[in-house]
Structures are given as C-alpha cells and as structure tokens.
Amino acid sequence: MMKFGVTLGFIFALQAALTMANEKVIAEILPSPSESAWLEIDWKTDLWEARREAVRTGKPIYLWEMDGHPLGCV
C-alpha cells in the first residue's frame, strides 16, 4: 500500500511538473501582447457590412487584402 502510494504520488508529481513545463512552452507559443497590438483595431471581415458601416459613419473604407487571410495564417 505504501509502495503504491509513493508510486502514485510520484506519478502525480511528475504529471504536475510536466503540466507546468507545458504551460511555459504554451506561453512561448502564444502571441505576446506586443504581437497582438494590431488587433486593437476593429477589423471587420465582411466587405458588404463595411460598406454599410461606412455609409452610417460617414467614413471611407480601408481594405487590407492578402493571399491568405490577414487575420489568419499569415
């Protein structure tokens, strides 16, 4: 029983350590606040909706076009 308890405890400790290590790596992978600053702009994704809003607000449209969605993979 003791041996089982020690073994189980060791496994839990190992899992916890692995999880902490994972969390550190995940934090390295995720975009940092400075990388995400460009998302402070209220980017729309629907050109027709942007047209309607442009009329409503009396503003011109700024359209960012890329091969590969600008808010996506590239």
């Binding site: 994972n22 550190k24 790596v25 995940i26 390295e28 992978i29 995720l30 975009p31 940092s32 400075s34 990388e35 600053a37 460009w38 998302l39 402070e40 702009i41 209220d42 980017w43 729309k44 994704t45 629907d46 050109l47 027709w48 909706e49 942007a50 047209r51 309607r52 809003e53 442009a54 009329v55 607000t57 009396g58 503003k59 011109p60 449209i61 700024y62 359209l63 960012w64 076009e65 890329m66 091969d67 590969g68 969605h69 600008p70 808010l71 996506g72 993979c73 590239v74």
Partner: protein, 309 residues
C-alpha cells in the same frame, strides 16, 4: 505578418484607422474569384487601382462605400502607409456628399465556393504556431528580428457530427481520433505557417501517425510527415485534453512539439536543418469576427472536410 508589427501596431496608424476609417480585411484568393455582388464590387475597385493588371490583388486600398477608389499601397513601413492614408483622406474630403454616402444595395446570392462559412453546429479550434529555440533543455520563442519569429494563427473547424463522434469515442473507452479529423489535422494544420502560406501535406507524406483520446479525454499522439524527397518534414508529439458535453466540445487543448525542416514556395527563409516548432490548439467560442475566418486549408472545401477522399 510584418504589417502587423511594423504598421498596424504603430500608434499613429492605429489612431488614424480607428478615427477616420472603417477597417476591413479580405482574403484575396477568395475575393478575386467570387462570382457574386461582392466579387464584382471588389474587382471594380481594383480596376481603378495600380493592381488592375496584376494576378494578385494583395495590398491596402482606400475606397468609398460606393466603390470609388481613393488610394493604394503595398509597401511595408508606417510612413508610406500614413502618407497614402492621408492623401486618400484628402481625396475623400473633396468628394461631394452624395459620393460619400451612397445607399448600399442589398447583397445578392453569395458565391459559396469562395465564401466558406462555419457549418451549423461546427466548432472552432484556434491553432497557434511558433518557431522555437532550444536553450539548456528549454524551449523558448525564436528571438525577435529573425525571419518567422512571430506566432502564426489558423483555425481548425470541426463539424457537429465529428464532435458527436468524439463523444461516442469517450463513452466507449477511447481510441483513435475519427479518421477525417485526424487527416485534416495532419494535412492542413501540422504546418509551419510562420513565414507565409505553406503548402498542405499530401496523404502519402504522412509516414507515421497516431492520435488517440482515452476515456478521460486525454489526447496523445505522435507523427512523422515528410515530402517524398525528404526536403521538407515535421516530426513530433501531440498531447492534450478534450471534453464533450451535450454534443458540444466544452474543452479542447493540444500541445504539439516537434522538429520541422524545409520550406515551400511561399514560406522561404526557413532555418537550416531540423528545428523546434511548437503549436497550440485551443477551443474558441467564435464570438469575434476574426475567430470565424475560415481555415487556410479550406480553399477547396471538400478536400478539407473529407481529406481522405
């Protein structure tokens, strides 16, 4: 991605965009092909711009709601972009009110081939990818300034019936991921997209594959994928956790760590040799427009949904 850091993180650009423009994004690959009102509108704007003769229509346009072209720029760097924006605003100010405030017509039938939308009941998993460096046994993000040092983002879409299949799998004690989901992840999401658009993997390039979930929802897997000439490849492990409740994913997280090598036509500048790559998959509620944009790999939708076919 340079635009994101250099231009759209610039406070002056941000202020001008927020105060004076309606900012919208589009995937040129879809938009220039759309055979519907939006496609026609876009092509009519491009026809007034310096991009009229180009195959690609990539770039930054300023236009009115009615489709009058006011400015274009495709240079990186805030100064030139600000200059273009200010010049476009001057043109805007010179327009008659009737040119600024046209009534926007209703949108006709949408060309679904080039306007993929999240299917009813489907869910979104955001996929973050980053080139890593190994230092004293620890993985860190690649140093700033190196090509491809930024995190890339894509979206994995899972259909309602695939999520239900996960539920059945958990209830029956676990097993291999549903085949379509597994191949979709392998072909379209285990990619290094940190320097641009990578090509997707072909089925016969998946040399080794295992991706399982157990009864507790613990995900584990390993993979080896490589082009047949072995100039490009990715080998690694996957671990994570998923929870299904009431036919919906309540939780989905997976960490992929591996070594990637090589590059494809639009991802030039890869580091030499086999280098660490990290990916993190996380369930997203899709509340923001930017979270609902389609997966990069869905350009041919049947191939994305049924990648075995």
């Amino acid at each position: 991605m340079t635009d994101r850091l250099l231009v759209f993180s610039d406070p002056e650009v941000q202020k001008l965009l927020k105060d004076k423009f309606v900012a919208v994004t589009g995937d040129d690959w879809f938009q220039r092909r759309r055979n519907d009102d939006e496609g026609e509108f876009f092509r009519a704007v491009v026809a007034q711009s310096p991009r009229r003769e180009s195959h690609t229509k990539q770039g930054h346009y300023v236009l009115t709601a009615g489709g009058k072209f006011l400015g274009f720029n495709n240079n990186r760097g805030p100064e030139r972009r600000l200059k273009m924006m200010r010049e476009a605003l001057e043109k805007w100010e010179e327009l008659r009110d009737s040119e600024k405030g046209l009534e926007v017509p209703g949108q006709g039938k949408v060309d679904g081939r080039y306007h993929p939308e999240l299917p009813e009941g489907a869910q979104i998993v955001k996929v973050f990818t980053r080139c890593l460096e190994e230092e004293e046994g620890k993985l860190r993000k690649m140093s700033d300034g190196q090509v491809g040092h930024q995190a890339a983002v894509d979206h994995l879409w899972l259909r309602r019936e695939e999520i239900a299949e996960f539920g059945r799998l958990l209830a029956s004690g676990g097993g291999e991921f549903p085949q379509d989901v597994a191949v979709r992840i392998a072909k379209f999401h285990l990619l290094d997209n940190t320097r641009g658009e990578p090509r997707s993997w072909k089925k016969d390039e998946i040399k080794e594959w295992s991706l399982k979930v157990d009864a507790q929802g613990v995900i584990s897997g390993s993979f080896a994928i490589a082009s047949n000439d072995e100039t490009m490849g990715y080998r690694g492990t996957i671990k994570g956790r998923l929870v299904v409740s009431g036919g919906r994913l309540e939780h989905f997280e997976a960490l992929v760590l591996g070594k990637h090598w090589g590059e494809s036509q639009y991802t030039r500048g890869a580091r030499p040799g086999k280098t660490p790559l990290g990916q993190f998959f996380r369930l997203n509620e899709g509340k923001l427009a930017r979270d609902r944009i389609p997966p990069q790999g869905i350009r041919w939708a049947p191939g994305y949904w049924e990648p075995e076919g």
